[in-house]
C-alpha cells in the first residue's frame, strides 16, 4: 500500500480491528471521532500498528493525541509520506 485513503483505512478498521455490534463504518466517517465509532484508545493503537506495517510509516505515540478521527490519521500519514 503506497498511500492511505479513507477507504483503505476503512478496510483496515473493518478487517483487522473489527467492528462493534452497532457500528456502521460505511457512512462518512472522516470526521467522526474514533471513540464514537466504538474504537477505544487501545483499538486506535491497533489501527495505527496495522497502518504502520502496511504503509511503512512511523507514527509515534505522541502524535496519537492529535489524531482523533479517521480523517486526521489519513492526513497525518499523507504528511509523513510527503516529508519522506
Amino acid at each position: 500500500m503506497d498511500e492511505l485513503t479513507l477507504d483503505g483505512l476503512r478496510e483496515i478498521m473493518r478487517h483487522c480491528v473489527g467492528t462493534g455490534e452497532s457500528v456502521n463504518l460505511d457512512g462518512d466517517i472522516r470526521d467522526t471521532a474514533f471513540t464514537d465509532l466504538g474504537y477505544d484508545s487501545l483499538a486506535v493503537l491497533e489501527v495505527v500498528t496495522q497502518v504502520q506495517g502496511r504503509l511503512g510509516v512511523s507514527i509515534p505515540d505522541e502524535a496519537l493525541n492529535d489524531i482523533e478521527t479517521p480523517g486526521a490519521l489519513v492526513e497525518y500519514v499523507a504528511s509523513q509520506k510527503a516529508g519522506a
Binding site: 473489527g18 467492528t19 462493534g20 455490534e21 457500528v23 487501545l42 491497533e46 500498528t49 506495517g53
Partner: protein, 405 residues
C-alpha cells in the same frame, strides 16, 4: 441471616459440545471429545491425544471488535457468559451495575494469542506487535471482557490456582453474593493448544502419551498413565436466593459449601490437604458425609495422585462409601474450566436425577477403593453433590451443591 447463593444459569463449552444441552447429551450418551491433535501438527510433540473444542466460530457468536482483541480462553468465557445469562433469563442492562460481579478462573493464559504476538516481535520487530497483546494474553482478561460486555461492575476478580481455580472462583462468587452483590457470573475457561502452550505441559510428566483416544485418560484404572489435556469453559450465573425467588427463576441448586486447602511443602513430611478441603466444604455446608449422594472426583489419571484422592475419599466416606464419577474422561482435564464443567454436571444431576458415568475406564485399580460409576449413567435421587478439584503442585478445592427445597 447469611445471604444464600444459588445457581440460576449455566453456560458450557467443551470438547464434547458447545452449549449446556449438547454437553449434557454427550455426557449421558457416553460420547468422547478426545482425539488426535488437529489444532497444530502433532509430529513434533510427544503428546498425541487432546480434547479440542471443535466447530467453534467466534465471529458467529461475538462482535468482530471483541474477537480481534481476545484470546480463545476469553472467547469461550464470553460465549459461556452469554449462555448463562440467557439460561437464567437475566438482562444485565436492567440491573444495577454495581450489584453484578464477575469472578473467573484461568490457568494457562491466552497461549495462542501470546505466541502469535511474540512471533511478530521476533520476526518483524516491536512496531509490529499488536496493541491487544497488552490485554489479551492475561489471565484477568476473561473477567474484564465479561464485565465490559455486560456492564457488570460489582466486586470482581480472577483466580489463578491451576485446575482448582474452577471451584475457587465459585467459592468467591458466593462470598461476593453474601457481601451484597445480587448476581455473579463465575467459572473457569482455558485453552492452551498452541505450540508454546502445549510445550509447557510436558515437563511435569503427568500428561498421557498414549495415541489411543479411548485409552489415554483412565483415572482410577489399572491402566492409568497420566491425563489428557482439554480446553473449554463453563460460566455459572450465581444469584442471591431471594432475588431468584422474586424473579421466579428456578435454581439448579445452592452453592452450599466451599473450602480450599494448599498442600504443605513435601520437605515437611506432612501429607497433602485434599481431605481437609473436602471436610471443610462439608462442614461449611453443614452436611454429613452420609448425606452426599455423589462425588465428582478430580481424577488426575496419575496412579500416585489417584491413590491419594481415593485415600481422602475413603477417609471421609469409607471405602466405596459414595458414588464417584469423573465425566471429564470425555473432555480431558480442561484446567480451570474442568471443575466448573463438573459443577454444571453436578447441578444437572441434581435436576435430572441421573449421574453421568466415567467414560473409558473399565478396570478400577485395587488401589482405588471407589464406587466408580461406569458404563451407563446411574439413575439416582441426587440432593447433594460434592465436586473436587486439584491443581498442579498443591492446590485443593471442594464445593458442595444442594438441591433447593
Amino acid at each position: 441471616m447469611t445471604r444464600r447463593a444459588v445457581v440460576t444459569g449455566l453456560g458450557v463449552l467443551a470438547p464434547t459440545g458447545i452449549g449446556t444441552k449438547a454437553y449434557w447429551a454427550a455426557a449421558l450418551d457416553g460420547r468422547s471429545g478426545l482425539g488426535p491433535m488437529t489444532r497444530m501438527d502433532p509430529s513434533g510433540y510427544p503428546i498425541k491425544v487432546i480434547g479440542e473444542v471443535r466447530d467453534f466460530v467466534p465471529g458467529d457468536l461475538l462482535p468482530s471488535r471483541v474477537v480481534v482483541e481476545t484470546a480463545l480462553m476469553t472467547q469461550y468465557g464470553l460465549v459461556c457468559a452469554d449462555e448463562a445469562l440467557r439460561d437464567g433469563e437475566l438482562d444485565p442492562g436492567e440491573q444495577p451495575e454495581y450489584e453484578m460481579s464477575v469472578v473467573t478462573a484461568n490457568a494457562t493464559g491466552g497461549a495462542e494469542f501470546g505466541q502469535r504476538e511474540m512471533q511478530n516481535l521476533y520476526a518483524k520487530g516491536p512496531s509490529q506487535v499488536g496493541a491487544y497483546m497488552a490485554i489479551a494474553w492475561f489471565y484477568a482478561a476473561n473477567s474484564g471482557q465479561i464485565s465490559i460486555r455486560h456492564g457488570m461492575r460489582g466486586p470482581s476478580g480472577v483466580f489463578i490456582t491451576d485446575q482448582a481455580g474452577g471451584l475457587d472462583c465459585v467459592g468467591q462468587a458466593r462470598r461476593v453474593i453474601r457481601n451484597g452483590s445480587t448476581f455473579a457470573l463465575s467459572g473457569g475457561t482455558d485453552s492452551s493448544f498452541s505450540p508454546s502452550g502445549l510445550v509447557g505441559q510436558i515437563p511435569p510428566g503427568l500428561v498421557s502419551l498414549s495415541t489411543d483416544p479411548d485409552r489415554a485418560y483412565l483415572p482410577f484404572d489399572v491402566a492409568a498413565d497420566g491425563y489428557t489435556p482439554g480446553e473449554g469453559g463453563a460460566i455459572l450465573l450465581v444469584e442471591e436466593a431471594a432475588s431468584a425467588q422474586a424473579r421466579g427463576v428456578r435454581p439448579y441448586g445452592e452453592i452450599a459449601g466451599y473450602a480450599t486447602a494448599f498442600d504443605p511443602h513435601p520437605r515437611t513430611g506432612r501429607g497433602p490437604n485434599l481431605r481437609r478441603a473436602i471436610e471443610g466444604a462439608l462442614a461449611d455446608a453443614r452436611t454429613a458425609p452420609e448425606d452426599v449422594d455423589v462425588v465428582f472426583a478430580d481424577g488426575y489419571g496419575v496412579p500416585r495422585l489417584d491413590r491419594l484422592e481415593c485415600e481422602a475419599l475413603a477417609g471421609v466416606f469409607g471405602p466405596r462409601g459414595v458414588a464417584v464419577t469423573v465425566p471429564k474422561t470425555a473432555t480431558g482435564r480442561m484446567y480451570a474450566a474442568g471443575p466448573t464443567v463438573d459443577l454444571v454436571a453436578a447441578l444437572l444431576s441434581l435436576r435430572h436425577g441421573v449421574i453421568p458415568s466415567t467414560l473409558n475406564v473399565t478396570a478400577v485399580s485395587p488401589d482405588c477403593p471407589v464406587d466408580l460409576v461406569l458404563g451407563d449413567p446411574r439413575e439416582a435421587r441426587v440432593r447433594t453433590a460434592l465436586v473436587i478439584a486439584r491443581g498442579y503442585n498443591g492446590f485443593n478445592a471442594a464445593v458442595v451443591v444442594k438441591a433447593v427445597a
